[in-house]
């Protein structure tokens, strides 16, 4: 099958007598429900308890494109990647027992990163529940802590309703993962077909907060009187589709904007008001000046510890306005002086009306001045190094050659922070990474999903040698469907981020972080993927261009310095103002 082909000829079914009311299986009800929800692509892995669904899927090839992964974790991460780039609900399908439990990491990842996915698992026959049957696991109780909602369906008549609710819950309010566990008898049961009804409300679920004018008025007053206002933009901007509003708001009020890791792309990095990336390895200016601003406006971000550093020393001088769709996030970590419980887009539209036109050129100038220090001490050395290749120069070239417009999916570690720092994202839904959970192994399958979610965009997975090997089996998926993902491994033969901490904080005791790696090029070639390895600077430009010019999948290993560190860094327990530009002197 060609890459990204979404429809093929269906396999013929046995003829049905026209006079009888249509009777279909629970499995077919499931598939019809997915089609009604606009699903076109499913990532899955079959097994005994989900076999009736797969049997029904055999006749749905023209409506549902099923991508066979190589591990259920690959399926759920692929569903995440799909959802993150497209804004649609990603779907994963797995069997019972270990198939279902293999989804847990991805579900937890999706929950903390607010990604809308629906995972459907097969389950043993209802009469066997609780008997320790073959491949039976209590999936519902196992996944309660890692899902926004889950449900077990034991009768065919309940499948459509459960799917409707699942999709509604997954994509509304603060998005998140939902799991639907369907017993085998429900999948097999034949009942009369009914018309599918989408869910448009649940009595006890109130996903959309009502904008409170009083909160907006209070926020606007603070902003209008602020001398050093500062916007921290998180993923909520992207989820709300509020990039235009944020740009308009920042331009009208003259307020500088920094982005969190998951907020990257939500505000263009080449905008004059963009001051950088926030957080533990973020830019110097945005971190230091958090503790100088007088009004801090957090929009669609949750003041995660990677952003705040030591909370007791975070923005104590500032009045905090916190705009978020999730009421439980407001004042959870940082007390909001003005809580605004609202959708980001709605809140920004209201604020644009209420806030006065202003400019804070001198204040933005302070960010530029500090960022210039960082540029001289760190960035120029990353872009113009000597010796072995460094991660920064590789990412910088990637950014230049793709003009900041590729979908870049990163794994977790030093390469992730380097990419967040140096890839110049222009658009929302182009920076895809595992933020809250920091799941190593995320990138390769997520890139597969991203390729299906954004088939007209270049998708590049930037991965470390450690994380790559956690889900390397998904090369099989890429091979089978010829998915045009570009895989760029920044190989330092170490679990680099952990090694960095061992160097800085544990007396350089490299306890089990050095990796003896195989020949990655040969592995890629064994999966019939074109591959190359680059070790020298003079070969780098050609190597990256060759990768990007390849129509199909391509693997490039860039061997980088073994003991390079990512700076700046806010050490654990330190204030964001104490961000280090280099390793502390011993």
């Amino acid at each position: 099958m060609d890459a990204l082909q979404t429809k093929v000829e269906p396999k013929p079914k046995a003829a049905v007598k026209e006079s009888s009311p249509e009777k279909i299986s629970g499995s077919e009800i499931l598939l019809r429900s997915l089609v009604e929800e606009g699903v076109e692509t499913i990532f899955g892995y079959p097994g005994g308890a989900i076999m009736p669904v797969y049997d029904a899927l055999y006749h749905y090839a023209d409506k549902l494109n099923h991508i066979l992964v190589r591990h259920e974790q690959g399926a759920v991460h692929a569903a995440q990647g799909f959802a993150r780039v497209s804004g649609k609900v990603g779907v994963a399908l797995a069997t019972s027992g270990p198939g279902a439990t293999n989804l847990v990491t991805g579900l937890g990842d999706a929950l903390i990163d607010s990604t809308p996915i629906v995972c459907i698992t097969g389950q043993v026959f209802a009469h066997l529940l609780g008997t320790d049957a073959f491949q039976e696991t209590d999936v519902i109780n196992t996944t309660i802590p890692v899902t926004k909602w889950n449900v077990q369906v034991t009768e065919a008549k309940d499948i459509a309703g459960a799917i409707a609710k699942a999709f509604y819950i997954a994509k509304t309010g603060r998005p998140g993962p939902v799991l639907v566990d369907i017993t085998k008898n429900a999948q097999n049961e034949i009942i009369e077909a009914v018309e599918y009804t989408k869910c448009d409300g649940i009595r006890t679920y109130r996903p959309k907060p009502q904008l409170q004018p009083s909160q907006i008025d209070e926020a606007a007053q603070l902003i209008n009187n602020a001398k050093k206002p500062y916007i921290l933009a998180g993923q909520g901007i992207i989820l709300s589709g509020a990039t235009k509003e944020l740009i308009a708001f920042s331009e009208k009020t003259g307020i500088p904007v920094a982005c969190t890791l998951l907020g990257l792309g939500g505000f263009p990095t080449n905008h004059p008001n963009y001051v950088g990336f926030l957080g533990m390895h973020g830019n110097y200016g945005p971190n230091v000046l958090t503790n100088e601003c007088d009004v801090l406006i957090g929009i669609g971000m949750r003041f995660d510890d990677r952003v705040t550093g030591n909370v007791s020393k975070y923005a104590k001088q500032a009045k905090v306005i916190h705009i978020d769709i999730d009421k439980a996030e407001i004042s959870k970590i940082i007390t909001a002086h003005v809580p605004v419980h609202a959708d980001a887009k709605e809140a920004l539209r209201a604020l644009i009306d209420k806030c006065e036109a202003n400019n804070h050129k001198d204040w933005i100038g302070k960010f530029r001045a500090l960022n210039e220090i960082e540029n001289e001490k760190i960035i120029q050395k990353e872009f113009n190094p000597s010796g072995p290749l460094v991660m920064g120069e590789v990412v910088h070239l990637l950014s230049e050659f793709t003009k900041g417009e590729a979908v870049v999916v990163t794994d977790v570690g030093q390469h992730q922070m380097t990419t967040a720092r140096y890839y110049e994202y222009k658009n929302p839904r182009t920076s895809i990474s595992s933020g809250g959970a920091g799941t190593m192994g995320f990138a390769l399958p997520a890139a597969i999903g991203a390729a299906y979610g954004a088939p007209n965009k270049q998708v590049v997975a930037v991965i470390g040698d450690g994380g790559y090997q956690m889900t390397i089996q998904e090369l099989g998926t890429i091979m089978q469907y010829k998915i045009p993902v570009k895989i760029l491994i920044l190989n330092n033969n170490f679990l680099g981020m952990v090694r960095q901490w061992q160097e800085l904080f544990h007396g350089k005791r490299y306890s089990f972080t050095e990796m003896d790696n195989p020949d990655f090029v040969k592995i890629a070639e064994a999966y019939r993927i074109k591959a190359n390895k680059v070790t020298k600077r003079e070969d780098l430009v050609f190597a990256i261009k060759e990768m990007l010019n390849e129509k199909g999948p391509y693997f490039l290993e860039a061997v980088v310095g073994k003991e390079d560190n990512v700076f700046p860094m806010v050490p654990a327990g330190a204030s964001v103002s104490d961000i280090l530009l280099e390793a502390p002197a011993k």
Binding site: P145, D326, K327, A328
Partner: protein, 80 residues
């Protein structure tokens, strides 16, 4: 539902001293839970917000003082 609610409190290390769960007399699909917890007012408020996020939870009320637990649980026992 009991599991979902208790998970949230466990995660926050909130000590549950007593609890009573019940089905609605007229509709087995509805019900409630009364919990006596030992925690700070601030954490109780944060847990309330997280409990309200549960899809099937309609309402969460926080009362100060263990006498409220006795009052509320006696009402349920009386109905039965």
């Amino acid at each position: 539902m009991l599991n979902r609610i208790i998970n949230i409190l466990n995660r926050r290390r909130v000590r549950i001293k007593k609890l009573m769960g019940y089905e609605d007399e007229n509709d087995f699909r509805r019900g409630g839970i009364i919990l006596l917890v030992h925690t700070t007012a601030d954490l109780a408020e944060k847990c309330k917000l997280q409990l309200e996020k549960l899809i099937e939870v309609d309402e969460v009320n926080v009362h100060d003082g263990s006498n409220h637990y006795l009052e509320l649980s006696e009402r349920i026992v009386d109905v039965d």
